[in-house]
């Protein structure tokens, strides 16, 4: 699809289009943070779908590309704060991989805002709410993602 077509498509569907956002959440911090957001009844846009992984270090960059291929509009990888990883060091590897991956996506022409990472601890329910709310707004502003997408 040409860029013009994508733009037209974007404009046309902006009105009632809702983005689909995938959140890879580590079991020990971010998943718990999302649970806490629920317990505290903190509302956020229903666009996010949480996929539970034991550790942010389990998130293979290939999962991220796959998500974009299959039609996800934005991906968030979230884990424990540095030093708090349940498995000691997983998030440090995540941090390195994420930085390289994000730059690669950007070089390939993806908007970097579509792939984000955050540290959200089990006690940061409000931060979870705030991060996913902001993320949803960011992605909405960008419109539907067509890049990397398998259109077949």
């Amino acid at each position: 699809m040409s860029i013009e077509a994508v733009k037209a498509d974007k404009a046309a569907s902006q009105e009632n289009w809702e983005p689909k956002i995938l959140v890879f959440a580590c079991n020990w911090c971010t998943y718990a943070g999302a649970d806490l957001a629920g317990l505290s009844r903190l509302q956020y846009p229903p666009n996010v779908r949480i996929l539970r992984v034991p550790c942010s270090g389990r998130v293979n960059p290939q999962f991220v590309i796959r998500a974009f291929q299959k039609g996800i509009d934005g991906v968030l990888v979230a884990g424990c704060h540095p030093g708090d990883c349940h498995y000691a060091t997983g998030n440090y590897f995540t941090r390195r991989r994420y930085l390289v991956m994000q730059r690669l996506l950007e070089f390939m022409g993806m908007d970097p805002a579509r792939f984000q990472a955050r540290w959200i601890s089990g006690s940061e329910g409000p931060k979870f709410q705030q991060v996913v709310t902001q993320l949803t707004q960011d992605i909405k502003a960008l419109g539907p993602n067509r890049k990397l997408r398998d259109m077949e």
Partner: protein, 659 residues
Amino acid sequence: MKRVGVFICHCGTNIAHTVDCEKVAKTAAEFPHVVFSTDYKYMCSEPGQMVIKNAIKEHKLDRIVVASCSPRMHEPTFRKCMESAGLNPYLMEMANIREHCSWVHPDKEKGTEKAIDLVKMAVAKVVKNTPLTRSSIPIHKRALVIGGGIAGIQAALDIADAGYVVDIVEKEPSIGGRMAQVDKTFPTLDCSACILTPKMVDAAQHPNINLVTYSEIEKVEGYVGNFEVTIRHKARSVDVSKCTGCGTCWEKCPTKVASEFELGLGTRKAIYTPFPQAVPNKPVIDRDNCRYFKTGKCMVCQKLCPTGAVDYTQEDQLETIRYGAIVVATGFDLFDHSVYGEYGYGKYPDVITGLQFERLINASGPTAGKIKRPSDHKEPKTIVFIKCVGSRDEAKGKPYCSKTCCMYTAKHATLVKEKIKDSQAIVFYMDVRTPGKNYEEFYQRAVDEYGVQYVRGRVSKIYQKGDKLIVKGEDTLLGKQVEVEADMVVLATAMVARSDAGDLARKVGFSYDQHDFFTEAHPKLRPVETHTAGVYLAGACQGPKDIPDSVSQASAAAAKVCGLLSKNEMATEPIISAVNESICSGCGLCISICPYKAIDLKTITERVHGKMLERQVAAVNSGLCQGCGACTVACRSSALNLRGFTNEQILAEVDALCL
């Protein structure tokens, strides 16, 4: 085709008020592989679980999805339910439609839509689930304590009292550690030796404790419950079984060398015990300095030994012992203040460290407890104490607070005032930090009752002028320069990690921080464990600590050890990494990524073109793997996969979400 059952929970109205549970159940019934789908008021209740069990039986379900609250809440509940229905508990997945959906999305339509998506993901995943089984590893009921200071002794005593055999490996000839060098302890000012030596004797006489002194750790293999530790018994040159510790040998030995125990302030012989109350009270020969070993002549000690215990032919011996748990209590070193030019690069004899000062005031120390200057043995009248030497100094020292210096400096200043009535004790400080029971009161007494002068400011320069030390500094509270003519300066040097701490950590296999202090598994919740299962920490090897902290951490570590050793075997979580050996190329990148040292290379033999060939592949130790999955991402060819969170499962979830 798989036979999946889907169970949607209303959680009373917690879910049902914003999610149309009936609609979710109906929609889910259409998902591939789903043969049964229903909703119920309370899935976790007894009747709720009966709904599941009956459906499993009736519809021959082979796996289920429960859409309800967070799996962090009820995953164990539904796993048990699966088990009692005769299915493998790991053939169950949960969709969190309460915390992640109904409670946060008030719009019923959108909430329902999202709940459907979450169920769809869970169904896609559960289809790829495989039965997992827990396995167990045996626990060998014997503990090793590395380091025989107060922390090691305390840990050993607690473990031994609980009925387990424990070995203390100490590299010096005697246990006792740093506390044995200390004169008095704050804040009570009771004599360190008076409270330590009984513990040392207890340890020596305890039927469950073996003292392995003058020995070091050579190698550690194995894993929790099954460590194979090789200990190097350094050649003592004295047959411990014959020696009675009578002391004849060290009285008559002709060679005098500077005593490590006295920190250079006193001497010892070439055959020696480090201090009079040594346990065991059996000497060793310092071969580097012994006249016999250097020249082949002398042999005075051997000739005079009444029991014939001196044996010059002894050699280092290696012994391998199996342990279930290890406590590391290797203590600390002192910061080397010779990097500080402003304090004279360690060249002024009367600028000493706090620990040297301990020896100077100790009744059994080199001056028999009289405070004398090392240079001319005169009694000093003005003593300056400088705090934070090497600590809280990012430029030349360590950034951290050494924690104990404020208290021991207050103690030293107090003791100066007590021992030399007409003396002056001046303390240069950055802050006075005294959190601890009776600590602040102790410091206040030093100031109020003993008249110790506290000057808030740094010392810029010390130089020798005649037999005085001129201490130049700043009093930041008065905003003035200060110059003190001192007779002696005592530096509160920081506690630092042992110089060989990193080596030991690598040998045993746990992590350490940028300062070489050993890293606890969690700074708040697992302060005495390491990331390596079965290895625990006690005392200042983990970070600067005073005696009460060390002792309590030692007892905590002992409690952890006892908890472990009380079991015959340990169940291991089945959610761990597994290697597909046919794909693994043995590149070993996973090894360095694993925080638990759970991955090793092993050699396998396989038939290729009719030839038997060897190659290396990764092997995951199920006792050590904790299931983080970091290795699976490092593995480019997906030879490593995390059970319960396989690549296939996660991809299925991602795909399902996008349908």
